[in-house]
Symmetry: C5
Subunit: 163 residues, 5 copies
């Protein structure tokens, strides 16, 4: 039985964790979920560390919604650096699921995007844990989480573009 | 008996620590407070480290007021990175309560904002220590500390926004 | 028998790993390859750490294609910092092969650039492992990976430019 | 007998260390001083580390004058991050006394500012070591080192600004 | 017998290492040199780490020429942060000798600057190893490596500028 941790915030304007949990539930089994909610994204790294160390998680999803002001962008960067440090000290993946508030043009799109990205990254977390072959087969395929996949560049063959 | 550490600065233009201490006192019991004042925000991380290691704090609030010049913004970033490092090396939360001087339009609003944010983050610190369920129940609810909560995006249901 | 690790992403729009593997195969022998595909560039550092620790790699190539938006630039920076940390904790080289999407003027050039840079950096990885003398002999020669070499500044003699 | 370390540079345009040493001498006793001069600000962190580890310093002042070009601002940031790391690995304070060359409008003001800030931060170092109560009593009082103190926001009472 | 390490790149457009080696040779004795060439500046930190750990160097010079594009500036920053980490983990100095391609107005000046800065920093490395008194005597004297020294601010006396 694997354990998938989900860390999220009260700052975000959408319950991304519930989307991820719903998607994981309809994707497979063999895991259970531990959740840890903190005030903001800069509190996520310690939450993830505790999910690994105290709850024994095998992988963690860190959900957050950085605001649109310059100070929020810096916060997102510091949060990401913290998540990186936790990953490297534990040797385990944290899937960072951040939706910047200004990625969406209105509130409706924002909710849609936060739901979609959470669900698609839930699949990535699942595949890293149970099905790494699925990821290898999609290497270099221009996949995106939330908005449409952009796909691979044209003219690419199985043996690469020769020069 | 839990210990809540409060680190603050002589640089800030408002005694944020007193607001937090006042709020904590009217919120609950079962804790005592240790305080450590330093000159500026870049001195906060060592203060927090000492509050954890020498005073045995279970959580720390780091209060500061970064100035409005570009050099102050960089200082805030370095201070935050230091606070992150301390959190990860100790495995305990530091609630960063920073009010940027240019968030407020005048001196009066600045004082109001520093008081409010200190109080609302005092509640976050209290909840992380004694009542994590309160945070989980507010996941994704668009909470803010200081200015008004923005709330969740419209159209969100208990089971998320379906696509 | 040396082991060369290759970490890549599903986000990139070209299968850079295959170009590198193809080039390595036609360059020499005495090594085998381990591959690890992750969703995005911020997932590369843990992949590289695992390639070193779990697969025993002697050197790793980290292939990625940062997007063109400001948020992508920050992601690239955080990914690079993570790759740096892994290198220093392991004491082994990671050759970072990043092609920024906006380095190329169109999709065709993008594919060409990703292929070329992957191949030329595959040679760098090979030389760091088997033939460091080749690198020393090219010190200060203005070499580039992908676009044309710019070469050394004019007027340089074997004994330097005297003042 | 405490030991106060002072690290400074040949790059700076004023002998800040001498100002600090002069001020410390007229402030109190019970300490001696160790000095370590390096070429530039990015060399300060190792100097500070050696002052702690090899000279047994209890606190260190790191004096520097970052230049006014963008590349100098990045250097200052990297130097500060290094000073932060040293502080956290040693669990002791480094008072960073940086005067950016473009903080002053002319050479005369620059010299005045470098002298003043060095002296006022020498007092901070002294207080952190011998008289922390002095700092606590000035928490939130808007103190500055070099230019005039800005003071606390108006309307603040002993019990904070109530909402 | 001390060991001075020199790490350099194939990316740079001038053989800075040879300038430094030439200068060191005409400055003094009591040391030998170990050299390690890598592709680019982000590969320098591991090279320096290996020069310390595997070759037993007492000090290392890291020579590089960051390009002029924004992405090159970020690379320089990451390289510098890596060099800082290596210094702090080893407790030994790395003299970073970076010449940004856009510091010079043309190719000729670029070559001249790379030669000069390499030579003047070679003296700094030598002094840190054998003659720290030389550095102390020049504290706050406005020294530069490459372009002309700017010198100390006017009006400075042996006892500082009094206020």
């Amino acid at each position: 039985m694997k354990i998938i941790g989900i860390a999220d915030t009260t700052f975000a304007r959408f319950d991304m964790a519930s989307s991820a949990i719903d998607e994981l539930g309809s994707t497979g089994s063999g895991f259970r979920i531990e959740r840890y909610t903190v005030p903001g994204i800069k509190d996520l790294p310690v939450a993830c560390l505790k999910l690994f160390k105290e709850s024994g998680c095998d992988i963690v999803m860190a959900m957050g919604m950085p605001g649109s002001k310059p100070v929020d962008k810096i916060s997102a960067q510091i949060a990401s650096q913290g998540l990186m440090e936790v990953q490297l000290s534990m040797g385990r993946h944290i899937i960072e699921v951040f939706v910047h508030e200004d990625e969406a043009s209105d509130e409706k799109e924002l909710g849609w995007l936060m739901d979609r990205r959470s669900r698609e990254h839930a699949l990535n977390a699942y595949n890293l844990l149970f099905n790494r072959k699925e990821l290898s087969e999609n290497a270099g395929r221009g996949l995106r989480q939330g908005f449409e996949d952009v796909g691979p560049v044209a003219g690419q063959t199985a043996s690469g573009i020769r020069h």
